[in-house]
């Protein structure tokens, strides 16, 4: 027993930290052996256990205390070289901050489930379907445990009636909500916190109007009124009864666009203009989203395949123009998430983010490794002395690593601050959409954890190699020669050179990739306006939701342009369904009728815009061919088989008709045909997309439809936009206000702004992106310059003696300068070449793999400014970074240099 205990005791004693063991190891063992008999006699078995426990507990304490001393020592060393520490913390902080910010994007937007929803993993959404299609889908019991249709975000003008019937709170507020089929809540598995949810058995067409409100609405707008259920409120001017209040955090199926109230599809069209025109029975009215709960055992993929078959069948029946298109007709995206994003897209988006983040953190690390290496070489003597007095190599490596990890942790803290800052900036930017969006990118604990992991990895990453290199040394040689030891001449593939080359290459890659993106974004999203955008006012009206009947609203818009013309300085008054240069949703499918027998030319992902007479003239855009809409087009009654004219943009004209003249030809959507009356150049529409993802291009085929009386009755999400082009400033706006008030004082004017503000808003995200990528690119550039300067400075310092001898022997200053610069120049050239090739390869690969970045890369990577400019800029900066410290070499006084040591 005693001998076993002694064996364990000895093992443990050997495990003490090297220094402790060197000094006390033998004594501890000796004392243990001496005391063993005594302990055994006095305490028996428990005494032995106590002896072992004592030494086992002492082990971590000794290690910790050593670590603390390492830390204190590292702090002292870093405090001594403040410049190095500052550059390190700053560069790592920025790198890690950017990485944390994009990680937060993943953790806060993509990963989380919609709150308040039961079993969100089993939900799926199909975007853009019609109600009759949905009714067919709903019956597929083998695929779906439940299905619902919804439309959202939909604006509602809501005013609360006072309980006494008087109009206490008469001012209507614009609230966004969902228009839902009665199955909505049961499919989501959401129960009412008070009252009831909708029910297909109870809520039928023709029953009294009802509304379901969210907890947020109840708290913020009704002061948590305990008698809210059963109260009547005004919704779009019609009375509706509150039947229930949602659970606390429930904000609808896509909480990123929060829904405050829910109105059933069984409501009368007078209350919900979205239901006007009998959309519930029109197969081509693809205004709804279908929400499914998958049946047990059914996957997203198999449900999609099943739906596809059904949809093709339905398309065939209803002669949908897209019925002959190859490929899937239906795309299901995972529901129950904050944002519905197709699964395939996620790795792509985050692939690019990960690549850029990796490059940034990688470059920052390489830079620090380089500086650390240079420092380590000047610290050779210290290292050698410590090794020779008995420090173990492991101990020294740990000491050096502590320093890097400490630096990295400080960088991590700076990074978290940086990420918070970025999130705060992002929060202040208003997104160019008509409905509220909740995006919170504040880093949470997962992002912080991620940051810590990255910092730790970075610390070890850039600390380990220099630590290994600097402790592998010939002691006697180094002690003799000290820091000025000439280290075997110029090594072509030394670690420092490799680091330098890869740093230059990485920086150039970063600069080029971000440059491609910036130029691509810029080309795709620049808004060109041929006049002063401060002199066009935009304002929105939504008379239908102010309680107007369809007829009355149509009459209002009919006479509105004429009336507003009376305002002083008003030049042109134009109506449109959406403000100009706002994002387009390219989700429609239209077909060009062919001449004789040939199949129709079907074009998918077409954007539709509905505009009033004189729209293009007001924007100073000339027609390329044909004419634009006139007031008479607005009066065409489309129900009487009269053909409506349409205007195509250039891209649409090309995609529908190729090289043929489009004027007078027909295009059709569903069964309705239109007459092409004109062609206009592509107008930019930043942030447009086809529903699944934002595509960063302006080349979206767009069909312009004229506003008609039925559009006036069915006002869009953002209300009807009135564009007022004026010759003068603010008094025109005052005149417009007066005219509208004189028409009807109850008409609510909202979203009043100039075109300049509208464009700023639309491009704010782009500017943020440009700034973001620009910062990343220039960050890499600065890092590379710092790294090069450090290495050159070090190389000059190392060769002081050699340079002194050369100069003593008669070398001229220019020759010495050239000698020093040649070394840096070779590295820069090699790095530039590698980086250039790398950037081209990466952007090709990313561009080919993704429809999101493809156009940007295609547009950006052909830009000669960038292809020539970036390498030249980097090269010039790098040579400058070499030159500044190299100049010091010619100032070396040969006498002093030779006398040293």
């Amino acid at each position: 027993m005693k001998s076993l205990a002694m064996r364990i005791y000895r093992r443990l004693a050997w495990a003490f930290p090297h220094e402790f063991q060197m000094v006390y190891g033998a004594d501890v063992i000796q004392l243990g052996e001496d005391a063993m008999d005594d302990i055994w006699e006095q305490h028996g078995f428990f005494g032995l256990a106590r002896l072992l426990a004592d030494i086992a507990m002492r082990l971590p304490i000794e290690y910790l205390s050593e670590m603390r001393r390492d830390l204190a020592y590292a702090l002292r060393t870093l405090a001594k070289s403040r410049g190095f520490a500052a550059v390190g913390v700053l560069s790592l902080g920025m790198g890690i901050g950017i990485a944390t910010f994009s990680a937060s994007e993943f953790f806060n937007l993509i990963l989380p489930d919609a709150p308040g929803v039961k079993d969100p993993g089993r939900l799926a959404i199909e975007m853009g379907t019609s109600y009759p299609y949905f009714e067919h889908y709903r019956d597929q019991r083998d695929l779906f445990a439940g299905a619902a249709a919804y439309q959202g975000p939909v604006p509602f003008n809501v005013s609360l009636n006072s309980p006494l019937g008087g109009a206490v709170n008469s001012k209507a507020e614009r609230v966004f909500g969902h228009l839902v089929s009665p199955e909505y809540f049961s499919v989501l598995g959401v129960r009412a916190a008070r009252g009831r949810t909708f029910d297909a058995q109870v809520d039928r067409p023709g029953s009294a109007p009802v509304v379901f409100i969210s907890d947020r609405f109840w708290r913020n707008r009704m002061d948590s009124d305990p008698d809210a259920v059963g109260r009547a409120i005004q919704v779009n001017g019609q009375e509706a009864t509150i039947v229930g209040i949602g659970p606390r955090d429930f904000l609808g199926v896509t909480p990123i666009r929060p829904a405050e109230i829910f109105v059933p599809t069984t409501s009368p069209a007078a209350m919900v203009p979205e239901l006007a025109g009998d959309v519930l029975h029109k197969r081509d009215a693809k205004f709804f989203e279908a929400l499914f709960r998958l049946a047990p055992g059914v996957t997203l993929k198999s449900a999609e395949a099943g739906l596809d078959t059904i949809t093709r069948h339905l398309d065939e029946e209803s002669l949908d123009p897209a019925r002959n298109v190859q490929g899937r007709r239906v795309t299901l995206v995972p529901g129950g998430k904050l944002v519905p994003v197709p699964r395939e897209v996620i790795p792509l988006i985050f692939g690019l983010a990960l690549l850029l983040d990796g490059l940034i953190v990688g470059i920052a690390c390489m830079n620090l490794a380089n500086m650390q290496l240079a420092r380590a070489t000047t610290r050779r003597r210290e290292v050698a002395i410590r090794l020779s007095v008995g420090a173990s190599r492991f101990r020294l490596i740990r000491q050096l690593l502590t320093e890097s990890v400490l630096l990295a942790c400080a960088g991590g803290v700076a990074g978290i601050l940086c990420a918070y800052l970025a999130a705060a900036v992002f929060k202040r930017i208003k997104l160019p959409v008509a409905f509220p969006i909740t995006i919170d990118l504040t880093p949470d604990w997962r992002a912080v954890l991620f940051t810590c992991a990255v910092s730790l990895a970075a610390g070890i990453g850039f600390g380990l190699a220099p630590a290994l290199a600097s402790t592998r040394a010939d002691l006697a040689f180094m002690l003799k020669e000290g820091a000025l030891a000439q280290v075997r001449g110029y090594r072509r593939f030394g670690m420092r050179n490799l680091l330098m080359v890869s740093q230059v290459a990485g920086s150039l890659m970063l600069l080029l990739i971000t440059g491609f993106l910036i130029i691509g974004f810029d080309k795709g999203n620049r808004v060109d306006i041929a006049f002063d955008p401060m002199k066009m006012y935009l304002l929105s009206l939504d008379p239908v939701r102010d309680g107007y009947s369809a007829e009355k609203a149509a009459n209002l818009f009919d006479k509105l342009p004429e009336r507003l013309q009376r305002a002083p300085g008003a030049q042109q008054i134009v109506l449109a369904e959406a403000p100009p240069f706002s994002p387009l949703m390219a989700t429609s499918t239209l077909a060009a009728r062919s001449d004789a027998g040939a199949p129709d030319q079907v074009v998918q992902k077409v954007a539709k815009q509905t505009i009033g007479a004189g729209y293009f003239a007001a924007l100073s855009v000339n027609m390329l061919e044909g004419r634009e809409f006139s007031p008479s087009d607005q009066r065409i009654d489309s129900s009487k088989n009269q053909l409506l004219p349409v205007v195509l943009n250039e891209t649409a004209a090309r995609e529908f008709f190729g090289n043929r003249d489009p004027l007078g030809r027909r295009i059709a959507e569903g069964s309705r045909a239109y007459d092409v009356a004109g062609v206009v150049k592509d107008l930019s529409a930043p942030l447009s997309g086809s529903g699944d993802t934002a595509e960063l291009t302006s080349q979206i085929p767009t069909v312009y439809f004229p506003l008609t009386r039925s559009d006036f009755a069915h006002s869009p999400v953002g209300g009807m936009t009135v564009m007022v082009r004026a010759t003068r400033g603010a008094d025109t706006l005052e005149g417009v206000r007066r005219e509208i008030a004189s028409l009807d004082p109850n008409l609510v004017m909202f979203n009043v702004r100039t075109l300049a503000e509208q464009v700023d808003e639309a491009t704010a995200v782009m500017h943020l992106d440009t700034f973001f990528y620009g910062a990343i690119g220039s960050f890499g550039l600065i890092l590379a310059a710092i790294g090069l300067a450090g290495v050159t400075a070090y190389s000059v310092a190392r060769r002081r003696k050699e340079i002194g001898i050369r100069m003593a022997l008669g070398a001229r200053k220019g020759q010495v300068l050239r000698l020093v610069m040649r070394e840096g120049g070779t590295l820069v050239m090699a790095g530039t070449l590698l980086g250039f090739l790398g950037a081209i390869a990466v952007s090709r690969a990313l561009g080919a793999a993704s429809s999101i970045f493809g156009p940007s890369f295609a547009a950006g990577s052909r830009d000669p400014r960038l292809l020539l400019g970036a390498p030249l800029l980097l090269g010039a900066l790098a040579m400058l970074a070499c030159y500044v410290p190299a100049r010091r070499s010619v100032k070396i006084d040969p006498l002093i240099a030779l006398r040293e040591e």
Binding site: V28, L31, I39, L51, D54, R58, L59, I61
Partner: protein, 116 residues
């Protein structure tokens, strides 16, 4: 030199070690034995803890390794001897003053209790 008061109150282990070294220089085993004897076997400084404390006492400058060895017939050449530094002695003094003060206060209180 740091002030002795900075070390007060002394950790138990430190106090016992300093007390053992107050008379003469000692090696580790000797310290352990003396503490055992002095406390009637109640306090045992286990080996690893003992050397951990010795290391810290040296770092704090309260004790140092002694260069003097005892007479040859008592000397064990494998062992290292430790002795108090001037600081260590002053810390020990300060601690005993502190303890005396505590005992005095206790006695005064006791005395008062008895008087009542």
């Amino acid at each position: 030199m740091p002030k002795p008061d900075a070390f007060l109150p002394l950790k138990t282990n430190w106090f016992h070690i300093l007390l053992s070294l107050a008379g003469e220089d000692q090696h580790g085993y000797g310290i352990m034995q003396e503490v055992l004897d002095r406390t009637g076997g109640k306090v045992r400084l286990w080996p690893a803890t003992l050397y951990g404390s010795l290391k810290r006492l040296i770092e704090a400058g309260l004790i140092e390794e002694s260069g003097e060895r005892p007479a040859r017939k008592f000397d064990d050449p494998r062992r290292r001897y430790y002795r108090l530094t001037r600081l260590g002695r002053r810390v020990l003094d300060a601690e005993s003053v502190r303890l005396q003060e505590l005992v005095r206060i206790l006695q005064v209180k006791r005395g008062l209790e008895v008087l009542e």
